[in-house]
């Protein structure tokens, strides 16, 4: 072979992969190379990007981003009884975590009490069991609420759990205007993806607009809704669907707030978002950048918001639980690192990194610490925080950002044609799109067209099993006994009166938050408060389909 021949760049050969289809995890085709022509003739820096902290915020919501302050490291935690979770909170705070994030168990998420017959076997399993204010007091024992920010992942009964949190603050002598945190409170994505609901969409939106009004007046630093794509993605959506349906839900809340008579610039600055960070590095970064630009334009152009804070899309990210494998679980640490890096380069405000053992069970303390250390290494060793939006201007990343925004806009137009997001949900439209995408993806994995290392490629017998945390079956008995004791000891008359007042308020259109706060103070249970409103609001029934 001549020297000249060996010096020539390698010819592309069919066997070297050019006959392969190159596409993202979501199936979006990717070109060999991107250049100025990929952006099209209309692409203008000022219009598509601008500076960080400036409309349309593609490059980030702060002028200094992580140079000013790194993201909040917020690991989701909750299991067993309130006392057990309180110990985990103290552990995380002692290890440098900067915000709390509460996971509630399924009975609580469904607005049911621990002794409800439907809850057998579920109490304390996937999160902490909270039935009454007494449990909420135990959960935040020795944690001054004016010294932390607390995120609560709760949706259908969000207003009730929030009322209990407010009641704890009162008992600690902390005024409401000093409370900081986030309530997920995103019921629309429940109908679309996570499926933990109580009432139908329209009365649920009324509770949410009551909460928006209450917080605007009394709890001004609280993030009232965390509009969540995370669960949409976990249910099997593509990245573009995650973006589209999340923004569609956001539009639904803003519309509901405006229709309830609220000024958009009063409540919109307290809306925040929550995205998934999946395996496809650039697709995720593009999704987050597109989300900021899309939201900014919708808020300004569609809703006429004038406060720049209403235009800014602030978001939390969690790495993709559904991307983790039970096989070769230590591989998950690497996946989580790549996904977390995407979230950082996408400009997230806070981050939860999954633990390597989450497909097996609840994470152990050791694996939670490793997940937190992963963030600390990114923040303090990798150097990625040194400059703002380091990928801005990459032909590829900008083209992908444009593409995701365009795909999301096409979905939003279809949802508008269906009569808005609530009508689209009632027609099963987003649910069906997601189920189709989930099935397609599973078929691609099974067919080997998408690789999952350790699962459908590089499979090895791996006997290593990380130590896992199991919730003691005794938790359910303890919790049920505690609840029964409390029911016997509290003032039954005050509970009854507070529930009657709540039902009256629901019928007569008063703001429900102060009434729920009264019920929480009287130690009414989550199940009693949520149940009292069922005769007024009804129960949601899903139209199930395959």
């Amino acid at each position: 072979m001549s020297q000249e021949r060996r010096m020539r760049p390698a010819e592309p050969r069919a066997s070297a992969g050019t006959d392969r289809e190159f596409s993202t995890v979501s199936g979006m085709p990717i070109d060999r190379l991107y250049g100025p022509e990929s952006l099209g003739p209309d692409w203008r820096f000022e219009e598509r990007l601008g500076g960080p902290g400036e409309f349309p915020f593609t490059r980030g919501i702060h002028p200094t981003m992580y140079r000013g302050r790194v993201w909040t490291m917020r690991q989701f935690a909750g299991f067993g009884t309130a006392e057990q979770t309180n110990r985990r909170f103290h552990y995380l705070l002692d290890h440098g975590q900067t915000g709390l994030s509460v996971a509630f168990d399924l009975p609580t998420l469904m607005g049911r009490d621990s002794d409800d017959p439907m809850c057998r076997g579920e109490v304390g399993k996937e999160g902490v069991a909270v039935d009454t204010l007494a449990d909420m007091e135990a959960l935040f024992e020795r944690i001054p609420l004016d010294g932390v920010s607390t995120s609560m992942t709760i949706n259908a009964p969000a207003a009730v759990l929030f009322a209990m949190y407010l009641a704890v603050a009162e008992k600690q002598g902390v005024s409401f205007d000093r409370l900081a945190g986030t309530l997920q409170n995103d019921i629309l994505k429940e109908y679309i993806a996570q499926k933990e609901w109580i009432y139908p969409p329209r009365p649920s939106l009324r509770i949410i607009t009551d909460l928006l009004a209450f917080c605007a007046e009394q709890v001004p630093r609280w993030n009232t809704i965390s509009i969540s794509g995370y669960h949409i993605r976990e249910a099997g959506s593509t990245a573009a669907q995650e973006l589209a349906f999340t923004v569609a839900d956001g539009i639904g809340y803003v519309q509901a707030g405006i229709e309830a008579g609220l000024d958009v610039d009063v409540f919109a600055p307290r809306l925040s978002f929550f995205f998934n960070s999946h395996n496809d590095f650039f697709e995720e970064i593009a999704k987050m950048r597109a989300a900021r630009r899309l939201w900014a334009r919708i808020m300004k152009e569609r809703f006429g918001a004038r406060d720049p804070k209403s235009w800014m899309l602030r978001f939390h990210t969690q790495t993709a639980g559904c991307s983790l494998t039970a096989q070769q679980p230590y591989n998950n640490v690497v996946r989580v690192t790549v996904q977390a890096l995407a979230a950082v380069l996408g400009g997230t405000q806070s981050l939860h990194t999954n633990s390597l053992d989450e497909t097996l069970a609840l994470p152990s303390e050791a694996s939670v610490r490793l997940a937190l250390r992963t963030q600390q290494i990114l923040a303090e060793e990798s150097g990625v925080t040194n400059t703002v939006d380091p990928l801005g201007g990459s032909y590829f990343v900008e083209a992908l950002t444009d593409r995701l925004e365009a795909e999301a806009r096409a979905y939003l137009a279809r949802i508008d044609d269906l009569g808005g997001v609530v009508a689209a949900i009632e027609a099963g439209f987003p649910q069906r799109e997601i189920a189709d995408a989930a099935y397609r993806y599973q078929r691609e994995i099974d067919g080997g067209r998408k690789t999952i290392v350790g699962l459908n490629k590089y499979v090895s017998e791996d006997a290593t099993r990380p130590e896992i945390l199991k919730v003691d079956e005794a938790v359910e008995r303890t919790q049920v006994e505690r609840l029964r004791r409390l029911r016997a000891e509290r003032g039954a008359g005050a509970v009854r009166a507070s529930l009657d007042a709540l039902v009256d308020g629901a019928r007569n259109g008063g703001n429900l938050l102060p009434l729920m706060l009264d019920a929480a103070r009287a130690y009414a249970t989550v199940g009693e408060i949520c149940g009292a409103l069922v005769p007024v609001f009804g129960r949601y029934r899903e139209v199930s389909f395959l």
């Binding site: 076997g121 099997g236 559904c322 609840l362 989930a438 994995i445 099974d446 395959l546």
Partner: protein, 137 residues
């Protein structure tokens, strides 16, 4: 000799668990494999699932559980099927079930437990080789 009738499977979500991605994906795979599929929808009680299985005269019950409540829910559905005189309907399932729980579930009568990472084809093959029509139609 008459053709054996199509297998008829119930895919069930029992308890409060809202994770229906797996149930829907496996139900579609069963349908595409030529089985008849009855999907219960979410948030069913063990009582409803057992009653539906009897009423729909299914050949097997497949439960999807990701909530951690498997040790209660699987045995409870089996118990209720037996009480209804339908103890011959096999029950199998999948979801997030730690390996060490599987022997106890099998001892309680669960025919098979599929954990994360199982391919759809493997699950379909398993059904073909382990589930038989209960009666000739």
């Amino acid at each position: 000799m008459s053709e054996p009738r199509k297998l008829r499977l119930l895919v069930g979500k029992v308890g409060l668990d809202g994770h229906d991605r797996g149930a829907k994906v496996i139900a579609r795979a069963f349908r595409d494999a030529g089985f008849e599929v009855v999907y219960t929808g979410l948030h069913q009680s063990p009582e409803t699932v057992a009653a539906t299985a009897v009423q729909e005269d299914v050949d097997a019950v497949a439960l999807s559980i990701l909530s951690g409540a498997h040790m209660h829910l699987f045995p409870r559905v089996i118990e209720l099927l037996r009480e209804a005189g339908a103890g011959d309907i096999p029950v199998f399932g999948g979801g997030i079930v730690p390996d060490e729980d599987i022997p106890a579930l099998k001892a309680a009568g669960v025919l098979e437990v599929f954990t994360p990472g199982t391919s759809l084809d493997a699950a379909v093959e398993w059904v073909r080789s382990h589930i038989r029509p209960r009666r000739v139609a």
